[in-house]
């Protein structure tokens, strides 16, 4: 190999290694934050509905503090290289989407839009070639939301709240119908989506138990 070439190549390789280290530090930070939030939100399963707002209020500031990290990432990643490095933080980002969507559901009962997630995480439109929330990560976060809601349906009943499972059922079925419209390829997302049917079955069984005992009004059946 030409000695000059050899030197250049070695320099390029070294630079990438350094960058990787720096990004990793940020990701470790982000990871700690999302783990903390997940830990706190785990309490929704034993919190009566009227105390939920207080719980959420304790999580929101942590979620907003993720903006510092997205901003650091945006300054680290070279232009156009979003897709080169994103695998390093995908997992944490998906958890952040999950947290944001769970907070939204608990506060308003609605589905958080992708644009709103990006806004909360302080991700700017003009960074899109460095840091962004791709559709795929958003969808992963929503699947985690459904996993969590099927557990919440069970625990709500335990806490004597019989309307919640029905609300969850309607919300989740609507979301599932949305997912069914997508042409997913045979990857992790598709497998996770396929597994949603177990969550739906569980929720349906809770609704069944509640209806059978006439503990809550029947969900309205919509003709096709």
């Amino acid at each position: 190999m030409d000695p000059q070439d050899l030197e250049n190549i070695n320099a390029l390789l070294d630079r990438d290694v350094e960058l990787r280290e720096k990004i990793k530090d940020q990701v470790t930070e982000l990871d700690k934050k999302t783990r903390t939030m997940v830990g706190v939100l785990n309490k929704i399963h034993s919190t009566p509905s009227d105390s939920i707002p207080v719980l959420i209020d304790s999580v929101r500031p942590i979620l907003l503090s993720c903006q510092e990290i997205t901003s650091s990432l945006a300054s680290l990643v070279p232009e156009n290289q979003f897709w080169r490095w994103k695998d390093m933080w995908s997992n944490s980002m998906r958890t952040a989407v999950f947290v944001a969507s769970l907070i939204e559901y608990l506060s308003t009962g609605a589905l958080i839009p992708l644009s709103r997630v990006a806004e909360i995480l302080g991700i700017k439109e003009e960074w899109k070639d460095r840091v962004a929330v791709p559709v795929e990560d958003y969808l992963h976060g929503l699947i985690s939301l459904v996993n969590e809601l099927s557990r919440l349906a069970v625990n709500a009943v335990t806490m004597g709240n019989f309307e919640e499972p029905i609300r969850i059922s309607i919300f989740v079925k609507d979301l599932f119908a949305g997912f069914s419209m997508l042409n997913l390829k045979n990857d992790v997302l598709r497998r996770r989506f396929d597994s949603l049917k177990y969550d739906i079955k569980k929720i349906e069984e809770v609704v069944y138990d509640v209806s059978l005992r006439k503990l809550a009004p029947l969900p309205k059946v919509v003709p096709p």
Partner: protein, 241 residues
């Protein structure tokens, strides 16, 4: 009228379909690149095995034919340019890499036959520019190195299949030295690129095979007091009778 959620997902569908379709196109294109490159490599092997009185000219001719064929790949890359603009290249690198590495393997093989040395990073880049000198997409060091690493296997085939030819013994010795220096140069880079470690192991095997072949010739020739060229002449003469 569709619900807001349905509208939202309608949008996602478009987005995902757009991505999946591009991905499919790139995979197919990459597979085509791989096929052309592999065929180019076969072509090179085939031409250099043809009957000839001037092996040097034959190698030059083979390299020329190969470069012609590889223009097809370059044209494909020119066509893919818009699919790989901006951050799209990195999004689809995994789809592009296999074909690109095979292309670099073929290109570097032709280059070696022509010049007897290793194609440089810039020389590879030169083949991936449009008429304004703009790269179709960035060339990544790992693709460059992994493509070159595969070259050693082809050089092994070239050296061993050609060993029976006039001048094949000398050629085998040159290839042996060349592959050995590739192995040395790549060694320090293996911690950076995971797949390179595995390929180094294969390079080592190829190298040993060439060494064994070169050895067999050397040890056989050492019994005679004639230069290698004359020995080759004698052998050629025997077969032709």
């Amino acid at each position: 009228m569709a619900s807001p959620l349905i509208q939202l997902f309608d949008h996602f569908r478009e987005d995902l379909d757009d991505y999946n379709d591009r991905r499919e196109r790139l995979i197919k294109a990459s597979r085509d690149v791989t096929n052309i490159s592999k065929k180019t490599i076969f072509l090179l092997h085939r031409i250099v095995m043809e009957e000839s009185t001037d092996d040097h000219a034959l190698a030059k001719h083979a390299a020329m034919r190969a470069r012609e064929k590889l223009h097809e790949v370059q044209d494909m890359y020119a066509g893919m340019k818009h699919e790989l603009e901006g951050d799209r290249f990195w999004r689809h690198q995994r789809q592009v890499s296999p074909g690109l590495q095979e292309y670099i393997e073929a290109l570097s093989f032709a280059h070696y036959l022509d010049h007897g040395n290793l194609i440089t990073f810039e020389q590879v880049e030169e083949t991936l520019r449009d008429s304004n000198g703009v790269l179709y997409f960035p060339l990544v060091v790992s693709d460059y190195l992994l493509g070159l690493s595969d070259l050693t296997g082809e050089l092994m085939r070239f050296a061993i299949s050609g060993i029976a030819r006039r001048g094949g013994r000398a050629k085998a010795n040159q290839v042996c030295a060349f592959v050995r220096s590739c192995k040395s140069d790549f060694e320090r880079m293996t911690p950076y690129i995971r797949e390179l470690s595995k390929k180094q192991a294969i390079t080592t095997q190829s190298l040993e095979k060439i060494e064994d072949a070169a050895y067999a010739i050397a040890v056989r020739g050492s019994e005679y007091d004639l230069p290698q060229d004359m020995l080759d002449d004698i052998v050629t003469q025997t077969i032709s009778t």
